[in-house]
């Protein structure tokens, strides 16, 4: 620490220490003073002056619903991991630990809102009514996603990091141009999901700049799970991510990403801001990736287990369960029923996966254009003929 009186400009390379810059960032397991929370890790419902009213309507039934969502999503996630280990999927991207961040946000969106996911948003997909089996094709390598993005109002998964921020911004600008922003009942907004690693991408920066310049109705929903594969957050930013929004000229909020109620409330607020013309908004859901980046990753090579031990204490599902039991008197039979449901779902997920046929050789032609060009048609028939030549050979 330099004393103010004796302060002289120092060598810029030695200027602020990491500790100075990073206080309040990763390394604390708390999100800092500005973290919005409505449900503590111990399952206590707490109030928040600014956002609490956005979840006032959530009672026992709603909370049970979110609990069910999170348990089912986690169960599917674990089954996906197992299927990869059994050679049934090429890769799986686990969401373990991020259930609340995804279910809270997903349940905050109305059917009119449009959502752009990255590739980990199985929980958001669930909230959009997409059957988990629809995700399997991507990870089994048989298709690029088999839901209708227009109908589900949920774009296909984007693998390129941060790229969907451009798509989302453009879509939101379109919503604005088409007059879908305002006080009317059919107002809508866009929500874009990405991770902390994506914030270092140019695409995200461009998206922020354009969204701000055009007052685009887009909620940038950053799930800060602390790790961009093996790179910890403090190597990517000098300020907490939500504070970056200020530089672009729109509000940023840090919410406890393991608190489904806070995520719900803040996202509801943010989407409403956007629908009524006050967009864009940045939400930083402060959470933790409890599993590997993907099934190809081994986090034990770059992070310590005691970090995980800390975050286990903030488990997003457990705190809802505790709250249901303590404050709403929910009995064990409810939890058993959800458990049974999740096992059923996982069994269906597994059975579907194992039975998935390999796509035929015509698939690469048939799904590209609505109508094949003559050239592609010729290529397709030539290719199929070539394939057929192996029959019986």
């Amino acid at each position: 620490m330099s004393r103010p009186q004796s302060w002289v400009p120092t060598d810029p390379r030695s200027a602020p220490t990491r500790e100075h810059v990073l206080s309040g960032l990763h390394g604390t397991d708390e999100g800092g003073a500005e973290l919005v929370q409505l449900l503590t890790p111990e399952g206590q419902r707490v109030s928040d002056d600014r956002f609490g009213s956005w979840a006032d309507d959530v009672g026992a039934e709603e909370l049970k619903g979110y609990y069910r969502d999170m348990v089912l999503v986690r169960r599917v996630d674990r089954e996906g991991n197992a299927l990869q280990r059994q050679g049934q999927l090429g890769i799986w991207v686990p969401l373990l630990g991020q259930e609340a961040a995804q279910v809270g946000a997903g349940r905050a969106a109305t059917p009119r809102d449009m959502i752009f996911p990255s590739y980990r948003e199985h929980g958001v997909a669930w909230c959009r009514g997409i059957d988990p089996t629809d995700l399997l094709g991507i990870f089994r390598g048989t298709d690029h996603g088999s839901w209708d993005p227009i109908e589900a109002r949920f774009h296909l998964y984007t693998i390129v990091i941060g790229n969907q921020c451009l798509n989302a911004t453009g879509y939101a600008m379109g919503q604005k141009f088409e007059g879908k922003v305002g006080d009317g009942p059919d107002a809508e907004a866009t929500m874009c999901f990405f991770g902390d690693g994506a914030t270092s991408q140019g695409d995200v920066h461009e998206g922020f700049v354009w969204a701000a310049a055009y007052d685009a109705p887009v909620v940038f929903y950053c799930q800060n799970n602390q790790w961009a594969i093996s790179v910890p957050l403090e190597r990517q930013t000098r300020v907490p991510l939500f504070q970056r929004a200020r530089g672009y000229g729109f509000p940023g909020v840090r919410v406890d990403g393991n608190d489904v109620l806070a995520c719900l409330a803040v996202t509801r607020w943010a989407l409403e801001e956007c629908r009524t013309g006050n967009g864009p908004v940045l939400i930083e859901a402060f959470t933790y990736r409890m599993d590997a980046h993907t099934t190809s990753d081994d986090p034990s090579r770059y992070r310590l287990a005691d970090e995980l031990e800390l975050w286990k204490l903030k488990d997003p599902i457990e705190r809802v369960r505790v709250n249901l039991v303590r404050e709403h008197g929910v009995g064990q039979d409810f939890f058993d029923e959800v458990q049974a449901k999740s096992d059923e779902l996982a069994a269906r997920f597994r059975a579907f996966c194992v039975a998935m046929p390999d796509p035929g050789p015509d698939r690469m032609f048939s799904e590209v254009y609505a109508e094949l060009s003559p050239q592609l048609a010729a290529e397709k028939s030539a290719y199929l003929e070539y394939h057929a030549s192996f029959e019986g050979a």
Partner: protein, 498 residues
């Protein structure tokens, strides 16, 4: 019964071609459920566990621990109930899973996340109760299994040949082992080494930053016969974990040795990859030694009275169910003395600019285990009486020796005891467990000449050595603490006064 179902080695990491069997968690005849962990494998990218795709009974293990198996090759045969497609009933609770990994625990029954359990497995978490690994291996070795390496004997025969066969591939620069094993050499040099049959991992590079040069390779080639290229362990490091003795990737060591590994001695030098607990310990020790200014003080103590007390208590019914060791008395003394000198039960929080004092003693006990040095903790040790401490010590050492220490037991210590006396040495200068303010080394307890009332006599004596972090513990406090511990051991009755 019909033909058993075959589970083939999957590609668990986008384009891998092979993986090494680290340890089986099931043996022939065991019932298995869908998603129960069958085996731990190590790929170029990670150590991972494979869950069973079938429910049924293990018919045969088709690959030995240590064997490198190509993706797509059968590794296990499982007889399913119908011999057909298994009922896809996801079973979550694998026996191995029931301990540790509670991360995804969703309900009271804790089933959700234990299904696969990769989540909780990071770092320290990657250690599990091993279900009779040696037993399992032996069980396989005896019957059939002709095609695969059977037991150590066969491994010894097959070892060199198999290793030699794989060597060129490894030298190719493909990440057949973990990254830490990939030698520092440019692709043309790798090519040269491959052509000349030189194992780059056996070379120390003379280039800048230890890079292996062409000349190094040529020199090595001329020095050794072509076929002698040491094909050192394809067995990989189980993942460099980071710091804190807490972290560990236990598995590889014992099992990896028989088949592939056994690094050959080249020119009288044996090189072994740094991994697992070794690496974690090294990181923790370096971090501690270079951040906390250590001071060590010594004290010789006449523990005759304590030993006599121990003998009396041992004979009592109350202590019949525990093993009452001198260490239990030391632990008790440390807890009592720490109450008088809170500074030793504290830590230095540099980022916060604060010293953290702990209300309770989370007592670390350094333990030599098959996996290396681990420091499991006795929680709230200051709340335990002597019997409780003895019981906790017994449970803790047994768990640690069995390699079953839960990761949560390895973190969050506040002060540590290292019992170097069990190795027959008198004393040492212990290095602090990172984050803690003090560590007490207990030397061997043995008869020694001692002066009592001006007379030379033989007493039972033990040496204590206390290292403390001088940032927060001064000589006065450290000395007082050590003297207190010594006084309690010299005359345990003084504990009455505390």
């Amino acid at each position: 019964m019909s033909v058993p179902e075959i589970f083939r080695m999957p590609d668990v990491g986008e384009g891998l071609t092979e993986a090494e069997i680290v340890a089986w968690q099931v043996a022939p005849g065991d019932p298995v459920a869908v998603n129960q962990i069958l085996v731990e494998i190590e790929t170029a990218k990670a150590v991972v566990e494979l869950p069973s795709p079938f429910a049924g009974t293990v018919h045969e293990l088709l690959a030995e621990p240590g064997a490198t198996v190509q993706v797509g090759e059968p590794i296990i045969a499982i007889r399913t109930a119908e011999g057909g497609t298994p009922e896809p009933t996801p079973v979550s609770e694998s026996p191995a899973e029931s301990k540790g990994a509670l991360i995804g625990e969703a309900g009271a029954d804790g089933r959700i996340a234990t299904l696969v359990g990769y989540g909780p497995r990071q770092g320290a978490a990657r250690r599990r109760p091993r279900k009779g690994v040696p037993g399992a291996a032996a069980a396989v070795a005896e019957p059939e299994v002709a095609p695969v390496v059977a037991g150590e004997e066969a491994a010894a025969q097959v070892g060199p040949a198999a290793a030699a066969a794989t060597a060129p591939d490894l030298d190719d620069g493909r990440p057949a082992g973990p990254e830490s094993l990939v030698p520092l050499a440019k692709p043309p040099v790798r090519k040269l080494a491959k052509d000349l049959g030189v194992d780059l991992r056996a070379l120390a590079g003379s280039g800048p930053g230890g890079v292996i040069t062409r000349d190094d390779v040529r020199a090595a080639a001329s020095a050794q016969a072509a076929g002698a290229a040491g094909a050192a362990g394809a067995a990989g490091a189980a993942g460099a974990t980071g710091a804190a003795g807490a972290t560990a990737a236990p598995a590889a060591e014992p099992v990896a040795v028989p088949a592939a590994a056994a690094p050959e001695s080249v020119g009288g030098v044996r090189r072994e990859p740094i991994r697992g607990v070794r690496r974690a310990t090294a990181a923790a020790m370096v971090q501690s030694a270079f951040t906390a200014p250590h001071v060590t003080e010594f004290l010789s103590v006449d523990v005759t009275e304590t030993m006599a007390l121990r003998d009396r208590l041992r004979a009592s019914r109350r202590f019949a169910d525990v093993k009452l060791t001198p260490l239990a008395f030391v632990a008790k003394a440390v807890c009592l003395a720490a109450r008088r000198t809170p500074a030793v039960n504290a830590s230095w929080d540099e980022p916060a600019g604060e010293i953290v004092y702990y209300d309770h003693v989370q007592l670390g006990i350094a333990a030599a285990t098959p996996r290396g040095l681990l420091v499991p903790k006795i929680r709230d040790a200051d709340r335990l009486d002597l019997h409780g401490l003895a019981a906790a010590l017994g449970a803790l050492t047994e768990t640690a020796r069995a390699g079953k220490t839960a990761p949560s037991d390895l973190v969050g210590g506040t002060i540590t005891i290292t019992n170097v006396g069990v190795f027959g040495v008198d004393t040492g200068t212990p290095i602090l467990n990172p984050g803690e303010a003090a560590i007490l080394a207990v030397g061997s307890i043995k008869p020694a000449p001692w002066v009592v009332d001006g007379e030379l006599t033989v007493r039972t004596v033990c040496q204590l050595a206390l290292s403390f972090d001088h940032r927060l513990v001064d000589g006065e406090q450290g000395s007082r603490f050590l003297a207190d511990v010594g006084a309690l051991l010299e005359d345990p009755a003084t504990a009455m006064l505390w």
